[in-house]
Amino acid sequence: MEEQSLEFTKEDLQEIETIKAKFPTDMAATLPVLWVAQRRFGHVEAPVQRLVAKTLDLPDSHVHGVASFYTQYYKNRMGKYVLDVCTTTSCQLCGGYEMLHYLEDKLGIKAGETTDDGMFSIQSVECLGACGYAPMMQITNDVYVNHLTEDKLDMVIESLKDGKMPKFESVGMPHFKERKV
């Protein structure tokens, strides 16, 4: 039933045309169009995958293969904010797991779960490429939050509850005279 209501907006379709123009084949647009879909619907469950396949005139199986291969596509519905805590080597060394467990206790859920109110999901993820700013996390495939502490996590959670995403944190190069904020 829900499948019938799934449609891209006119703006989405324009964006998809712009994406297609970058490549010699429409298949090449699979990843970017799955992103467009995930931003529109919040996930890429099977009906969304079929919509992407139809829009690009590709086999459903191809889009499913791609969507399931890449970790950033949500194959299930997630909370409004997905907290991806990095626990790979550098973050592990600097307290990534401690931050993950703090969040789990605070929100009363385990990694891989979503709070009952649908507000937060937590995931333990592989290296996000912010090793020097460990421990860190990413919020819903968007902003990175570096140098995590329990206090900082408290603040971030409070501000997300108010619907405010943290701002992009620019960590300057150490040789810069002034550390950019």
Partner: protein, 428 residues
Amino acid sequence: MAVDWKSFTPVLIPDIPNLQDIDVYIKNGGYEALKKVVNENDWSPGQVINEVKDANIKGRGGAGFNAGLKWSFMPKPDGGPRYLACNGDESEPGTFKDRKIFEYNPHLFIEGALIAAYAMEVTTIYVYIRGEYYSWIKMMEKALQDAYDKGFIGKNICGSDFSVEFHVTGGAGAYICGEETSMLESLEGKRGYPRVKPPFPAQKGLWGRPTTINNIETLANVPGVINNGADWFRGIGAESHPGPVLYGISGHVNQPGVYELPTGVPIMDLINDVAGGMRNGKKVKALIPGGSSTPVLRGDSLEGVSMDADSLREAGSMMGTAGMIVMDEDTDMVETLWRISHFYHHESCGQCTPCREGTGWLEKILLKIRNGEGEIRDLDLLLDLTTQMEGRTICALADAAAWPVRYTIERFRDEFEARCKKSVHAVA
């Protein structure tokens, strides 16, 4: 001879405010190298390739292959499309440098890629950035648009007859897409399965056409070589592995971060003088020099070892991406190795059996040891597994998974044995 790194002034990411702004970049000499090669008759594509080859820029993505030589593998143009694919996937644990170029000096990379495209007579450039770097993808989109608006990209660049299109595209979370052929598959809109080589991408790359893949930092070195000459570049840092490098230093140091210095800086100087010393004054127990796949070195073997291919080879490791992970004396090597193995198991694309199964077994056995249920013979089983994985797969992910296991056990065997002796099965 020790490299004089203290007097070095950064060239990849100089301390110039707002250099990401195209006008600031131009005011500071930006795009002069591009104008030079496309407009001056003495810079034929072949001459650009020769200059870059002479400079001996070793690929900064980890493999360390001479960039100019790689460019020279492109076949002669046949009128059809040819591609340059810029690798900004950057997913190897410990590596977080290319995003600094996207953020602070994106036009240096864009200019380098354009010069590379001119040299290889490429028609379209793609920059592939890992999906997690959403903020940095946005920065690159802005920088590319600015460069289009100024006429540095597109038709008849700077009034010459050189034309090229340049697009940015993002991944969606897969370490394997940093492997060059896997990145091509991903760019074509597929799962990131590495391709069998040969044919090499220069012969059959994107959509079956000639393609060269270069790392972002590698390309960012190109404008400097054109402006100042190959000799200038070769005069920086270690003789056999020259140039500036973005060192990513993470782990148990006081001031982790990305530092631009010449190649060949002694590791202990990087830890003590550059990165502010060890946290809490502890000793270095272990160091991974260039991303998690490069063999771990013992802290007591670092004296006299410098960050360049020769010195690291002698010490039993590799330069990789120069993403150094520093571990202090309190680090549990069993726990650390288990986490690294978990990473490679998670990231194996599953195409080749020795990798798909092998990475899983490595993780399982290490988990058993970590949980105190290991036996001494498990260590030999792990080493045996690594030999059965290395060199037996389409790409090097199996090797990247095997090396940390092999070298961490070889170099910290006592610690693993001690954990095994605590086994619940032990009788004495």
